[in-house]
């Protein structure tokens, strides 16, 4: 998903893709995650839960996440709350660290193996689970859940467009009776796909696929979140003031790994304060967390460096890219040498400083971020060894510009007009000027900029555009295919994630092969993804700037901090000292 320069998750989209190592994780974790609700570990931990349970956990966020309907909302900010109120058939393990990227059964009793050549999955749905309104969960509830992905305007049907019948769905109506087949007697749910999709489990673990009651409206429910099955339920949500989550009286633990009981009795997310005021309130113990998507201003970072806050500040590396997409559809960057030239010239250490210094960002050259499946360090655009960026190579860059015949070309650098966005654009202008281009900025508000640079009708208006991408789930295709695949250039659409409009048929063929090999030969697929990453990098459709890190700032009375690479801070697993 895309986020803004202020680190605010921003409405973004991606479409269905296939091929993921996470699929393997599914199998690996299947056995571990199939535990029942009455396992001994659950019993022993329940006493711990009881000891820590209680209190009101208050999060301060600069702004809300917009419309709350889970079929429409595509922001980390709401997803961090939805994982506490809703469940899917499967879910990412709700634990910190790398295990948090593993998929475990949630409302399903186990993770099924596909049949019918990889096109059919039969899930056994757990019995005895109730929604927060007291309604019993049935397999047929999932039909509504999936149909809503297509009928709610602005949702993300792309994730589930491979389901049989989905191609005929629209906001006017949807019939998935052949694609999502429930059996409320046997408590099974059969999902039929038009083609094998090794990433289906990843997609089912996203909040879009979280179960809502069958009688939920097929239209946008606005800010009224439908009932879920998680440990909390939505008491209220007003995007101008706050979201309030209270305990779901019908919740019981059925798989601690997928959905453990939460500690706070109530979770409140308040909106509207400037981030510096949020920091002050948390420093003073008047609130418990500065929402992790809010970028903490430089002034406050200085304060947080104090040893006093050492135990309250948590820094984590994100599997994300901040990059400048190069418009490959028009001069000068329809020329490979010109693209490589600016990659050589980009002073990545300067960009890292804009991001807050080495403690908050790592220079990057390649598409896949570190700690990501198939990642192998590669940086051809530097002076030293080609694994780590060590400095710009201006001589090489200037020679390439000269060879490309683009010297002196005008270049428009598009970015967001917030503080960080402006600074990134200014540095890019400086880098471009240093190798002989005549660069200027084009700064737009974040809400305008992202659709603007995606839409092909604006290709003639910019040459370089800032963007950022945060993993939807840990699969190389989430970067390599979604952001640079030929099929992800959607002309005249505001939702065309291949912003560089880069299409290399040879690499695309390799992407297709890697995706198909995911199920049959995962190690070969993994190696191929690595090759694709390096080939894409060498084609230089982007200037990759850095991989960001994230700061969580919690109050001194907050304990149990855990950070999942998928969901980031696990809010309901935090507890307050009494």
């Amino acid at each position: 998903m895309r986020q803004t320069t202020s680190n605010k998750p921003y409405l973004a989209r991606r479409r269905t893709m296939v091929g993921s190592l996470a699929g393997l994780a599914v199998l690996a974790m299947a056995a571990a995650g199939c535990g029942s609700s009455s396992s001994p570990s659950t019993k022993s931990s329940s006493s711990t839960t009881a000891a820590h349970a209680g209190g009101v956990f208050t999060i301060l966020a600069n702004s809300s996440f917009g419309v709350a309907d889970p079929a429409q909302n595509y922001t980390l900010e709401e997803w961090q709350l939805l994982i506490d109120t809703h469940d899917g058939l499967v879910g990412f393990a709700k634990v910190g660290g790398l295990p948090g990227t593993k998929i475990v059964p949630d409302l399903a009793t186990s993770i099924p193996l596909p049949t019918n050549g990889g096109k059919t999955y039969v899930f056994h749905v757990r019995r005895g689970i109730k929604f927060s309104n007291g309604q019993v969960l049935k397999p047929s509830d999932f039909v509504t859940t999936f149909e809503r992905q297509f009928t709610v305007p602005g949702g993300n049907p792309g994730f589930y467009s491979g389901i049989v019948g989905a191609s005929k769905c629209s906001t006017k109506g949807c019939d998935l009776s052949k694609g999502v087949v429930p059996n409320d007697t046997n408590y099974t749910l059969t999902i039929n796909l038009t083609a094998p999709d090794p990433e289906l489990m990843d997609q089912l673990a996203l909040p879009f696929a979280f179960a809502v009651p069958a009688n939920t409206s097929l239209h946008n429910t606005g800010n009224k979140v439908p009932p879920g099955t998680g440990p909390y339920m939505w008491k209220s949500y007003n995007p101008n003031t706050e979201a309030v989550l209270v305990r779901n009286p019908y919740f019981h633990v059925w798989n601690k790994l997928a959905q453990p009981a939460g500690y706070p009795n109530e979770i409140i997310e308040k909106y509207g304060l400037p981030v510096s005021d949020e920091v002050t309130e948390v420093e003073n113990g008047e609130a418990d967390e500065v929402w992790d998507g809010d970028q903490i201003p430089s002034d406050d970072l200085t304060t947080l460096n104090s040893p006093k806050y050492a135990s309250q500040v948590h820094v984590n590396t994100l599997t994300a890219d901040w990059y400048m997409a190069l418009n490959t559809q028009r001069p000068p960057f329809n020329n490979l040498e010109a693209r490589q030239a600016i990659n050589y010239a980009a002073n990545r250490s300067a960009y890292v400083k804009i991001a807050g210094g080495p403690s908050l960002a790592v220079p990057a050259c390649q598409i896949l971020p570190p700690n990501f499946p198939s990642y192998k360090a590669y940086c051809p655009f530097t002076t030293g060894p080609q694994t780590v960026w060590s400095g710009p190579n201006l001589a090489k860059a200037k020679a390439l510009v000269k060879a490309s015949g683009t010297l002196g070309d005008k270049v428009v650098v598009n970015g967001t007009n917030d503080q960080v966005g402006t600074e990134l654009a200014e540095q890019m202008v400086s880098d471009l000027d240093s190798i002989g281009y005549k660069a200027s900025t084009q700064l737009l508000s974040a809400s305008v900029q992202y659709p603007f640079i995606q839409n092909s009708s604006n290709w003639s208006k910019w040459n370089v555009a800032w963007s950022a991408w945060y993993q939807d789930y840990p699969a190389p295709s989430d970067f390599l295919n979604v952001l640079l695949g030929c099929s992800h250039i959607v002309k005249n659409s505001d939702a065309s994630p291949n912003i560089a409009a880069f299409c290399n048929t040879k690499i695309q063929a390799q992407i297709n092969t890697a995706e198909s090999e995911e199920a049959t030969n995962p190690s070969a697929a993994s190696a191929l993804w690595t090759t694709i990453d390096h080939e894409d990098t060498l084609q230089a459709p982007w200037v990759d700037l850095y991989n960001p890190k994230q700061i969580d700032f919690t109050a001194s009375n907050v304990h149990g901090y855990e950070w999942s690479p998928q969901w980031y801070i696990l809010i309901d697993q935090l507890y307050l000292s009494k």
């Binding site: 050492a310 500040v313 210094g357 403690s359 503080q419 654009a425 540095q427 900025t441 084009q442 305008v448």
Partner: protein, 347 residues
């Protein structure tokens, strides 16, 4: 009878008073207004400082362009080479803090901004942009508004109705909303503004100049049109009409000289307003575009550094306050000088 004779002879004996034109009288009145004169001197001083920006900037050891980021740069403080951007302290070393004021006129007098640029240099170059936009947009606005007001007021009838309603439409929009909309539209055109042979690139200082001039036209148009309507009924205009003067001559020779004092009184006040508007738009990132700077953009750049590096925002803020204050005081002085009913009299 004797008394009358005595009066006449006394008059004849007085030395003849040299005739002065109204502008000379106004200038004399203005000179006698010490507060207005101080404001004028302050304005000139600010202008000279800003024009002298290169004299300060040439000292800065940078790549030659003081407006370019200098994130990896160094400078010398007390004989010691220090990085312009300094890594955060403590265990976590979060953030990068720009160097603070050195109070040394040769470099980083007021410290650096978020991307390592010399704040004092930015302040001077930013002042150039702010003053240029402020003055040019106010002048442009006054010229356009005066021409439209002359046409509307002189011809009256349907011409007046159409032009006045057009001005009402522009006036009906909230100033900043209109300016932001226009700026966003122009900024998304890589070719900027193209009107006939006139071309203004999107990042040019002329883009905010034109926008600001446009949004304030009705504010000048209204009083000037009123003055035109008033002057149009005067006897000397009727006399000119009786003599067969053309419309062109009536407008530009009879009416314009008699309404221009209104425009002149409005001009410094408009400059103050346009400088404030430019600062606000630039603060909102829709005014002056990087790599150019203005006082508004510098305030915006410094807002995240208010505690650690307050001078980044304070310095341009102070400059805006001083300039606008000086312009308003000068505007009042000019009004007093041009107003025949002013208390201050030429003796």
């Amino acid at each position: 009878m004797a008394a009358v004779v005595e009066q006449v002879s006394t008059t004849e004996l007085r030395p003849a008073v040299a005739g002065r034109n109204p502008w000379a009288l106004a200038w004399r009145r203005l000179r006698r207004n010490r507060i207005a004169l101080a404001a004028l001197i302050l304005l000139v001083l600010i202008l000279v400082l800003c024009l002298g920006a290169p004299l300060y900037a040439h000292n800065i050891a940078h790549d030659g362009n003081v407006l370019s980021p200098n994130l990896n740069g160094t400078t010398v403080v007390h004989g010691k080479v220090v990085p312009v951007m300094q890594e955060g302290g403590g265990l976590l070393k979060l953030g990068e803090t720009p160097i603070g004021p050195t109070w040394d006129f040769s470099h980083y007098f007021l410290g650096a901004d978020n991307i390592g640029r010399d704040v004092a240099a930015l302040l001077l170059y930013g002042g150039r942009a702010s003053l240029q936009i402020g003055i040019c947009s106010a002048v442009l606005c006054c010229i356009v508004a005066t021409i439209v007001a002359l046409i509307a007021g002189f011809f009256g009838g349907i011409v007046d109705a159409i032009l006045s309603r057009l001005m009402d439409v522009i006036w009906a929009f909230p100033v900043y909303l209109l300016a932001i909309s226009l700026a966003t539209e122009l900024l998304t055109h890589s070719n900027g503004l193209q009107v006939g042979f006139l071309h203004v690139s999107a990042t040019s200082l002329w883009t905010p100049t034109v926008i600001i001039a446009f949004i304030y036209v009705p504010y000048v148009y209204r009083p000037v049109r009123g003055q035109v309507l008033s002057v149009g009924t005067k006897e000397f205009v009727e006399a000119a009409i009786a003599q067969g003067a053309s419309n062109f001559r009536l407008i530009f020779s009879e009416i314009l000289p008699n309404v221009v004092s209104t425009v002149i009184v409005l001009l410094p006040l408009m400059i103050a307003t346009t400088i404030l508007t430019e600062s606000a738009l630039s603060y909102l990132s829709v005014g002056v575009q990087p790599p150019n700077v203005s006082w508004g953009t510098i305030i915006s750049d410094g807002q995240d550094l208010l505690y650690t590096r307050p001078w980044v925002s304070l310095a341009p803020g102070i400059m805006i306050v001083l300039t606008v204050l000086a312009l308003n005081v000068l505007g009042d002085g000019v009004r007093d000088a041009l107003d025949p009913r002013a208390k201050l009299r030429v003796r």
